[in-house]
Amino acid sequence: MANANTLRDSVLLVALFAGGAAAGAWLGRSEAPAAAAAAPASAAQTAPAPEPAPPRETSTAAPAAGKAANTPAAALPPRDLPVADYFDQLAAQALQGDAAAARRLADDMAECANSERQFDAVEDILDRAGRGARGAGPDAAQERGPRPRRGREGSDDGLGEAERRLQFAERFLQRAQETERRCAGINAAQIARSGEFIRAAALAGDNAARLCYALAPNEWQRDLLSPEWQDWSQRWKSEAPDMVRRAFEGGLPEAAATLSAMYSPWQPARGTRPWTGQLGDQPYWAYAYAAVARQTLGAEAAPRLAEVMQQHAQRLTPAQVAQADAWAAAARARIRFEAPLPGTRDFWRSSSLCDGVRRAGGRL
């Protein structure tokens, strides 16, 4: 009899706990949206096209990403070491949520994957230099058309175009040889893990990796069309927009320009970024993010961004422009933005794919 009472009490306890849990869950669910809706009401009145919030960090976290904040990152090996010497160690750290280790391996694997391309690029530069030298007569000058405007690289130092190309090829060759040396012993299976590493770095909180993962999916999974690529791409599609938003919230100024482009209508023009229009045609947000980009990307980018803002402003009411400006100012106050990546003057020095992608993301 005593056993029967104990059993009955236990059942009752479980039933009451379950009932309480169900009621609690209902309360929790019903309260959250109300709070969420109340917070940004003022913005919604003038912002015609609202934007989704970045999800909580936990929603797409990598298996061990939660450790990232608590696990102090180990010092990275020096850049000049062969990658094979530290691959296994960094791979293990990356899988434990070490953003820096994951980012480093992603960069290294991208560099190793491009090793052959670097030598091809040198050959291409040498070919052009050769053609330039052969075609240096007046006819060739006419054929080339107007002399292109010189960048900072091409200051008038008395060097001919062909010689400049040769110097450039030499620098490029040095870099290609260095890459070849660093990547000795790295196999295709290790290179194929570059996507895993950039995603791990992104999920573990590396801002540049977030943007890099979000903007260049096919650089990280190069086995195009394969069943593995299909799965990769499907997952990338669901994650990429939030990654850019997180990069923005994390203070990456190039992400502001990227988001502006993502909210701009796609134009069939040369140089249009693949991510243009990815979030639809929303001039309000295109303008607002461009406003942040103009304040954070530096003086060099400012004129172009001002032009972009003007284009978007033409499709907005003055009240909307004022609201978007206020939103941009609030974002500037709320987010501590990093300095933008320096320009492309010395791009050949950097072998980081992510640096290139980040610069591309910052251009409109």
């Binding site: 009490d9 306890l13 479980v14 009451l16 706990f17 009932g19 309480g20 849990a21 009621a23 609690g24 209902w26 309360l27 929790g28 669910r29 309260e31 959250a32 709070a35 969420a36 809706a37 917070a39 940004p40 913005a43 919604a44 912002a47 096209a49 609202p50 934007e51 989704p52 919030a53 909580r56 054929e143 903007l215 260049a216 999916p217 096919n218 086995d223 195009l224 069309l225 394969s226 069943p227 299909q230 799965d231 791409s233 499907q234 990338w236 599609k237 938003r245 923005f248 909210y263 069939p268 040369r270 991510w275 990815q278 979030l279 929303q282 947000w285 607002a288 939103w327 974002a331 709320r334």
Partner: protein, 326 residues
């Protein structure tokens, strides 16, 4: 005492349930800190028309058919740069393969001519860029117009220039105001042509898909193609089409890079879209040789592959594959 325990259990359950539910949702503070309200999902604007297709795993491939797959979505029709193109699109959407093909060809021509516009040039045609690109066999101009090769074949230089100039003028007239359409339109019309058109249209879609590979803007179309194309070829092969059996056999036998190096196999992209599978390759290539289309080069390539693949299979598997019927 008993009542206290029961009350404690109920309260504990309540607290756990509430906490769990809140953890599943963003907190109000998180949302307030976000840039703006979340009444809509703008990121669905471009991608909402994408239908998730099943992957062509081998088990799935045995049971899937094209009939289970929705056609690629066509973005809403809006007036484009050309009313003639819009009329073609309308006919194509109603299933007219010839109209779809014509739309694609014209779009391709005008896209190729984008870089050979006049840009303020007002002299005689052909422009130097067009003339040089044509004579050097620029990839964009290689298939732009059948008259190009005729013009290039003219021996007399003045007459050749005149013919090239007339061709460039005609193409520029045809493409005045051209603006490329989004990738969804081109891809969907290509699929319509492949589905309703000739064998040539079908293989055009398989061997030269109407999308830009590697360009992340075309990702939706790439995913769709990677899942759809193997099923399209499989359906043909099951119907007794020797070309399709050969293409499938070679696709299962090798990846993209190998496929590119093989002159006898033009289905490079198909090779990339299916996993290497020696048994499937052996089956389809055996079937191809049994039903043979008499093409000596392809038969030799198929035999060479069978010999290579045979080493990866048991005697029993080889015997079964040789008599296999799809």
């Amino acid at each position: 005492m008993r009542a206290r325990w029961l009350l404690a259990a109920a309260l504990l359950g309540l607290a756990c349930g509430y906490g769990y539910a809140r953890l599943q949702r963003p907190a109000a503070a998180d949302i307030a800190a976000a840039p703006a309200p979340a009444a809509t999902q703008p990121d669905k604007v471009e991608t909402s028309t994408t239908v998730r297709l099943p992957r062509l795993g081998e088990a799935a491939a045995q049971t899937l058919s094209l009939r289970n797959l929705p056609h690629p979505p066509l973005p809403p029709a809006r007036p484009s740069w050309s009313s003639a193109q819009d009329a073609l699109r309308q006919r194509a959407e109603a299933g007219d393969a010839a109209a779809a093909r014509e739309w694609l060809e014209r779009d391709g021509r005008c896209y190729s001519m984008l870089q050979f516009g006049l840009n303020g040039y007002s002299g005689d045609l052909p422009t130097r860029e067009f003339s040089r690109a044509a004579s050097r066999g620029h990839p964009r101009l290689r298939t732009v117009d059948p008259q190009l090769q005729q013009a290039l074949a003219i021996g007399d230089e003045a007459q050749r220039r005149q013919a090239l100039g007339a061709l460039q003028q005609r193409l520029l007239d045809e493409c005045r105001g051209y603006a490329p359409q989004g990738p969804g339109v081109r891809y969907a019309l290509g699929e319509i042509a492949a589905r309703n058109g000739s064998d040539k249209d079908f293989w055009q879609f398989i061997n030269d898909p109407p999308l830009a590979f590697g360009y992340s803007r075309d990702l939706d179309q790439m995913i769709d193609w990677a899942r759809r194309a193997p099923l399209m070829v499989r359906e043909r092969a099951r119907g007794g089409d020797a070309d399709a059996a050969y293409a499938l056999g070679m696709a299962y036998a090798q990846g993209l890079e190998e496929g590119r190096a093989d002159e006898a196999n033009s289905s490079h992209y198909l090779s990339a879209a299916v996993s290497d599978d020696p048994l499937q390759a052996y089956r389809w290539l055996s079937l191809y040789l049994r039903n043979g289309d008499g093409d000596a080069a392809r038969s030799a390539a198929a035999r060479a592959q069978l010999e290579r693949l045979g080493g990866q299979l048991s005697a029993e598997q080889r015997a079964q594959a040789q008599g296999w019927q799809p």
